[in-house]
């Protein structure tokens, strides 16, 4: 790990000006610092300044005040970018009006990680592909000429591609929160080089065909200040993990629904851990319309569409079937339908 200067920004202006300070050659914003420090330890990046934005106060407050940093005005929920995953998981507002966000935040990683990890950091964390994370593999994402996952060990890689053909990079997007925020129509607010920007969460990410060395569309120097989103009181999340402690999901799904009587009137479905970006499943959402979530057979049928169009690699075909199950169970979670085996667990 390299030496670096640590800057504790007190307000937005300080954060932005530190980033432009000519005495730094590679300054970066730091949230919880988890992913950054992992990268530095592995020698993947060597920033010479870490600008901690968690203390940014005043206008465009990043840290949020009070026990619940989440505010709700009318239908709009707002929370600061440096709110921790633990805060998100415990927020009374989110638990009531957007349970999908509270659930995804509460399911990521471990309590220790969630106490430190920030919302913005979670959205912008880099992929977990084991070739990417290992400095000795100079893969496409790091400017090399090969994707090692294609011939190598790809059990945890993507089954969907964003471009017309699979690849060239086969990561899955790592963020738990991103798909949850997508079903809530979230907007990411930034300040930076030009003006304030409002980026619909779906536009925050891009696939490898639009550039393989990054996963998001922010420009250098842009700081995420807060997130706004719509209330989704009937929403849910389900992750399938190999290990129930300290593990990344094999696949997961986030669902928001509006009920029309006993049946689903409208649904939004976004999956995670299956594609290089949070993966929207509009066909499944359409098929869910009119389904009674208590009718498991109808639900299963609608969700079976989830794997349609998947092009699995050698070792990750199992994800296709799992995805349908994750979506189905996310709907059941949203609708408050009991899932087999979850009693007493």
């Amino acid at each position: 790990m390299n030496s670096f200067t640590y800057v504790r920004a007190r307000n937005q202006a300080e954060a932005l000006s530190s980033l432009k300070d000519a005495k730094f050659s590679l300054p970066v914003f730091k949230g919880g610092g988890l992913d950054l420090v992992d990268h530095m330890k592995e020698g993947l990046i060597a920033p010479d300044a870490l600008i901690d934005v968690r203390g940014v106060r005043g206008e465009g407050d990043l840290a949020g005040n009070g026990p619940d940093a989440v505010e709700m005005k009318g239908e709009v929920i707002r929370f600061p970018a440096a709110m921790t995953l633990a805060q998100a998981a415990n927020s009374a507002v989110l638990r009531k009006f957007a349970p999908v966000v509270a659930m995804t935040a509460g399911s990521a990683a471990t309590p220790a990680v969630r106490n430190v990890a920030t919302v913005a950091g979670n959205l912008l964390q880099r992929p977990r592909c084991w070739y990417y994370r290992n400095s000795q593999f100079n893969c496409l994402k790091k400017g090399g000429s090969t994707c090692f996952a294609v011939e190598g060990e790809n059990a945890y890689h993507a089954i969907f591609s964003t471009g017309s053909s699979p690849g060239p990079c086969h990561i899955v997007h790592p963020s738990n929160l991103a798909p949850a925020l997508m079903v809530c129509d979230a907007v990411v607010h930034t300040v930076g080089n030009a003006d304030r920007k409002e980026i619909p969460i779906g536009k925050l990410f891009h696939g490898p065909e639009k550039g393989v060395t990054s996963e998001h569309t922010l420009e250098a120097g842009e700081l995420i200040t807060h997130i706004t989103m719509k209330a989704r009181p009937v929403s849910g999340f389900y992750a399938i993990k190999e290990k129930q402690s300290f593990d990344w999901p094999l696949v997961f799904a986030c669902v928001a629904i509006e009920m029309a009587g006993e049946r689903i009137g409208k649904a939004e479905v976004v999956a995670g851990a299956v594609a290089p970006v949070p993966w929207a499943l509009p066909a499944v959402a359409a098929a869910l319309k009119g389904v009674d979530p208590k009718d498991e057979r109808a639900l299963t049928e609608a969700c079976a569409l989830a794997g349609k169009g998947a092009k699995p690699m050698r070792d990750n075909g199992y994800k296709v079937g799992l995805l349908s199950v994750a979506v189905k169970r996310a709907v059941m979670k949203a609708a408050g339908v009991a899932i087999a085996g979850e009693e007493g667990r």
Binding site: M1, N2, S3, G43, R128, W130, Y131, N134, Q136, F137, F148, E151, G152, E153, A155, I240, K241, E242, K243, Q244, S245, F246, D247, L250, Y318, G321, L322, V325, A340, G341, R345
Partner: protein, 701 residues
């Protein structure tokens, strides 16, 4: 995880001894960080070393910038002694610097240009086809009513010791102190004299605490110790060399992978008549050490042809790991039995009662069946719900092996008592149980004995391997304590003008004919010098007698048939271990063994990139180890029927677990998963019928 369930068959001579509730004596030091491990020794003026390693399964070193990096501030030396490596992690040289920071900078700045070569990474790269069936075995198979033809496989499991391998060597010219992380204080010493250019008596190995080893820290100083010793000897400065987490996975040994090809012949009632079992061990670049213990001898397998072959490929080689060769064999063996039972429609426990050779195992199976509630087991293949429950059972056994050990007990004038043994504590509770043994023999409370361990200057003791430590160190420690007590009582006897044999010490009081004479503390003040020392006399220590350790484990779990995820519910682990010295540390050995076995069953595996031979999960994130939420309720049952000796306990509890898990999965879903770890993907494949086809005899394939 509650483990307070009362244990059955409590050791007969323990009674209400204090040791029944005694906590691990160094628990507080360990959890507060007060305990100093080898890794914690940062000596003034120390140099820091790291090994340079081959990053690929096989590669040639074309060029390096060592000369340039050597000029960086703080870098003392860079030595490259090999220009090729045949496994990821093969050391080819070292970097030496005067601070941790300088060392890290140098390692980062070091640019090595490697040319990769083709690699083999698995047994299957060599063993491409099922081996032929021997003619004799064929005859048995042809005559069989039923047959099972199956292939079982297990992955490489790394030891994943929390404290990585290494040591700090402080060479001071004519003497040296070595702070080592080792399971063999004396083997470490004996392997270091040449490198240090000193006699064994001129230097001390200090190993007060060890952060795990599981067998990988048994074989002397290893390359970490030898390199550190040579450098320290040459430079006359302390040298710190501990490997990092990645290196720990790559090059400090492992449990080798295995493949078992079974062709079994059996009767309609499940009686196995014989056949053929061929095993292969995946030993990386090593030539041997890949044994896979099946059949184990615990069951009657009839007329069996048996052969084992070790297969080499481009990967770090094995080292002894907690019951070497046994868990991989037991996995295949137990699952095989359940497949036979299923094919014959026999209860698998009933089949085991018939095939098991030891009466002890049978008795334990009966007792364990009650505890787990075997009567509620649902017959295999009859469940249709999403969540299906399963139960499995597995057996283990272990012998008792001799090892050289001595003990010393010192009674000081101030009444304090020190028990001394050079043997280290790898987590088994050596410090705790030696105190118990000494205290009991002297006649005082365990908390009044201080136990000094982990030094080559203390009385010799065995390496912590083969589960020999407690059985071999307890008798001499007892002998030493009795010797010390007798010396003390002789002094008192003289004063009272009686025979020493007329006196005894009970609960810290000297008694004569049951009447209190004086307190133990007062007695100690009569010592004329500073202390008296009791010693064990090897010739007089009774280590005879047999002490076989048997075990039976039951696992209860459920399988989510939509996701393939397994939820572990209960494990009942009955384990004979002879006389129990301290119940909590004994139970902790069983619980720890079970946890390691469960983790092996469901999660752990070294993943080598098949193209480059590099290990892609050399960390504790994607090398998955069972975590708190995955933990079932574990009930350890100490079983000491018919045993009075202290017997082996460290290794056996890890043997049967994975097999029992596999059987429980078969019971739940009706199809076997014959390959560890049992991941959701494999469960789903088994459910979908891939690899779960029935053969024409009705046996599962």
């Amino acid at each position: 995880m509650a483990t307070t369930t009362p244990t059955m068959n409590r050791p007969m001579n323990l009674g209400a001894s204090a040791a029944d509730h005694l906590d691990r004596v160094d628990a507080l030091a360990k959890v507060t960080g007060a305990a100093k491990y080898g890794r914690d020794r940062y000596l003034p003026g120390s140099l820091f070393a790291a090994l340079i390693r081959c990053p690929w399964g096989s590669a040639e070193l074309l060029s390096d910038n060592a000369a340039e990096v050597g000029k960086l501030a703080g870098v003392v030396e860079i030595k490259i002694s090999r220009r090729e490596g045949t496994y990821h992690g093969r050391d080819v040289g070292y970097v030496l610097a005067d601070s941790v920071v300088a060392l890290k900078r140098a390692m980062n700045a070091l640019k090595l240009e490697w040319k990769r070569r083709e690699v083999k990474t698995r047994i299957e790269d060599t063993v491409k086809e099922p081996p032929a069936i021997n003619e004799d075995a064929k005859k048995v198979l042809d005559a069989a009513a039923k047959k099972l033809s199956a292939v079982y496989s297990t992955p490489v499991q790394t030891h994943s010791s929390l404290e990585t391998h290494g040591c700090v060597v402080d060479h001071r010219g004519d003497s040296a102190t070595v702070y080592a992380s080792t399971q063999g204080t004396f083997a470490f010493r004996d392997g270091l004299d040449e490198a240090l250019k000193l006699k064994g008596s001129d230097f001390e190995i200090v190993c007060e605490y060890v952060g795990g080893g599981f067998g990988s820290k048994l074989g002397g100083p290893g390359k970490e110790g030898l390199n550190a010793a040579r450098i320290s000897a040459a430079r006359g400065k302390p040298v710190y060399l501990f490997v990092n987490r990645e290196e720990e996975h790559l090059d400090t040994g492992n449990r080798p992978s295995s493949m078992t090809f079974a062709e079994l012949a059996f009767e309609n009632d499940g009686t196995i008549t014989g056949g053929q079992i061929l095993t292969f061990g995946g030993v990386g670049v090593a030539r041997g050490g890949g044994g896979c213990d099946v059949p184990s001898g615990r069951y009657n397998f009839g007329d069996l042809r048996r052969a084992h072959t070790d297969v080499s490929f481009n990967a770090g080689g094995p080292r002894a790991m907690r019951a070497p060769g046994k868990p991989q064999g037991a996995f295949a063996e137990e699952l095989m039995l359940d497949e036979v039972a299923l094919a014959c429609n026999v209860d698998p426990l009933e089949l085991r009662m018939r095939l098991a050779r030891s009466g002890n195992h049978k008795e334990m199976m009966k007792a364990g069946a009650k505890l787990i509630g075997w009567a509620n087991r649902i017959p295999t293949g009859t469940q249709t719900g999403t969540i299906r429950r399963g139960m499995g059972v597995g057996l283990c056994s272990w012998g008792l092996f001799p090892a050289r050990a001595e003990g010393e007990v010192v009674i000081y004038r101030d009444g304090s008592v020190e028990a001394r043994t050079g043997t280290q504590d790898i987590g088994t509770g050596q410090r705790t149980i030696m105190g118990v043994v000494a205290a009991e023999a002297v006649g005082i409370n365990p908390d009044e004995v201080r136990c000094s361990i982990g030094s080559s200057k203390l009385p010799v003791g065995p390496g912590s391997g083969g589960s020999v430590t407690a059985p071999n160190t307890a008798p001499p420690m007892r002998a030493a304590a009795l010797d010390a007590k007798n010396k003390l009582l002789t002094i008192i006897a003289k004063e009272l003008n009686v025979e020493a044999s007329a006196l005894e010490i009970v609960k810290g009081e000297v008694l004569r004919g049951g009447q209190r004479v004086m307190s133990f503390k007062d007695a100690c003040q009569r010592i004329t010098g500073d202390s008296i020392t009791g010693r064990s006399d090897a010739a007089k220590v009774d280590t005879s007698g047999k002490g076989h350790s048997d075990g039976v484990q039951f696992v209860e779990l459920s399988v989510d048939t939509e996701t393939g995820v397994i939820h572990l519910h209960n494990v009942v682990a009955l384990q004979s271990c002879g006389r129990v010295l301290a119940r909590k540390t004994a139970e902790s050995q069983i619980i720890g063994g079970v946890i390691q076995g469960l983790s092996y069953a469901l999660f752990e595996q070294r993943v080598l990139d098949r193209v480059t031979g590099a290990m892609v999960n050399a960390n504790l994130e994607s090398y998955k180890i069972l975590g708190p939420k995955d933990m079932p309720h574990i009930t350890p049952v100490l079983w000491s029927k018919g045993q009075t000796k202290v017997c082996s306990l460290g290794e056996p509890p890890v043997i049967p677990t994975a097999g029992a898990v596999a059987c429980a999965v078969l019971n739940a879903i009706g199809a076997p998963v014959r390959s560890l770890p049992i991941t959701p993907a494999k469960v789903l494949a088994a459910l979908a019928g891939v690899g779960g086809k029935k053969n024409e005899d009705g046996g599962a394939r």
